[in-house]
Assembly symmetry: C2
Homo-oligomer: 267 residues x 2
């Protein structure tokens, strides 16, 4: 199979750099083809601006979604974005690897999402009617493919637990897993998260590397997070609210969007 790993750390000699090597080697050893988009090494442009939309006249008001759609349909998005879109079509699985900074992805990776996930490609896809609200959340351009996160965090695992002060890690990653990856159709796998990386030493590396190897070996076989499909009947259209009666009575927020009535937490 084919795997695209999008990597966002500025230092190759980092824990992230070592884990990337581990992941790529294990995938290749399993017979997969791997491409890496190394955003820092490639000098990736982070911010969405007028330069992203060659069809926009100099005096025209920039409406990012509209401009993105125009250039996507015309095939005139910038070369760096077109190249990433081609890689996403090519890959059977997408891995995003990054250090969590301020409880979210680094700016350069957010800029990859903002720029590459064009209107007409990753959103603004499909029919809007009384039965369908576009092809999204389980349907869309990238349906049939898999995606997962490899994340490093400075804090302790306990701080990201169900009652931890930072908030549960699955909730912190929900906007990425559900909102960015499931949205255009990916089946999203549980994330691989490494904690306390600020105090990491050599003795801690091998167990973490082995855990990652195991996840790479099961990339195409492990069970995805059971998010509910938008157009499968669980949601009212057009309010897009979970139908009354679905979800455990005491479930709130993100947990409602897991099938199996929220009985299991993600991961």
């Amino acid at each position: 199979m084919k795997v695209l790993l999008v990597y966002a750390h500025p230092e190759p000699r980092s824990l992230n750099g070592s884990l990337r090597t581990v992941a790529v080697r294990e995938l290749e050893a399993s017979g997969h083809e791997v491409q890496v988009s190394d955003l820092y090494a490639d000098g990736w442009k982070s911010q969405v601006d007028r330069a992203d939309f060659p069809s926009l006249s100099p005096d025209e008001r920039l409406v990012p979604a509209a401009a993105s759609g125009t250039d996507f349909v015309a095939g005139t998005l910038t070369a760096d974005v077109m190249s990433e879109i081609a890689k996403l079509h090519w890959a059977d699985a997408l891995i995003l690897q990054f250090p969590m900074w301020w409880f979210a992805m680094p700016a350069i990776l957010k800029g990859w999402v903002d720029r590459v996930f064009a209107y007409g490609f990753a959103y603004g896809v499909g029919e809007h009617s009384d039965r369908r609200w576009g092809d999204r959340y389980g349907e869309g351009t990238l349906a049939g493919k898999r995606a997962m996160l490899i994340v490093t965090a400075g804090g302790w695992e306990e701080h990201y637990a169900e009652r931890g002060i930072n908030g549960p890690i699955d909730d912190l990653l929900f906007p990425i897993n559900h909102g960015i990856l499931y949205y255009p159709g990916y089946e999203v796998l549980p994330p691989y998260v490494v904690y306390r990386v600020d105090r990491f030493d050599e003795s801690g590396f091998e167990p973490v590397a082995e855990g990652l190897r195991e996840r790479m070996r099961t990339l195409f076989t492990c069970a995805p997070i059971p998010y509910r499909r938008q157009n499968g009947g669980d949601y009212l259209i057009p309010s897009m609210q979970l139908r009354p009666g679905l979800g455990r009575p005491d479930a709130t927020g993100y947990a409602l969007h897991l099938d199996g009535d929220g009985a299991a937490r993600e991961g």
Copy 2:
């Protein structure tokens, strides 16, 4: 009082641009001093990289937190970052204004956080002991100041409601409100969110503008989100878990971190 508005939209002739004008005028009419950091107009550099850390030797491994701390203490961070830190010290209130893209802030604003919130300034502050886990979550360099978000979203308000498919808006904004703003000490106000902005027309503008004016008039008087203070006794140290017995029995995730036993949702 003094207010810093950090603004992240690439088009001045956007709804965001109009709302910024409304906010600034109302604040000034109320007698406040206002500074605006217009990230696109200023050509803000989004990504954290080696160029941010002048003290780092060319062959030295970049560890972002460590490098940030070194240059912050030495007063040698880059001029653009130092200028923003000075504005944060100057301001009694911070407003972050942005369009929600992919359920998070645009890359350029995330890059403002990643670069300006230096180690020793916004994190890595205070004593770590069996009684305190640093000055954070309600304490820290920016304690005594207020912060709030002004956010525009393309989707419908219902889609961001408690049972909406996107996830509740308060949960989507928790990593920013709690993880970025409350962390270094800000009292965080409920956000001002405008929905369905892709279909906005003139008739919709005035009610939204008036709502924003009201929020600007009450910037220094309205009640902040009642997040729990980290070192006030509610959390076990060092696991940073909410103490058993605190929080409604059926509360989960982010709602646990609201004082008043999670009885009220944020906002």
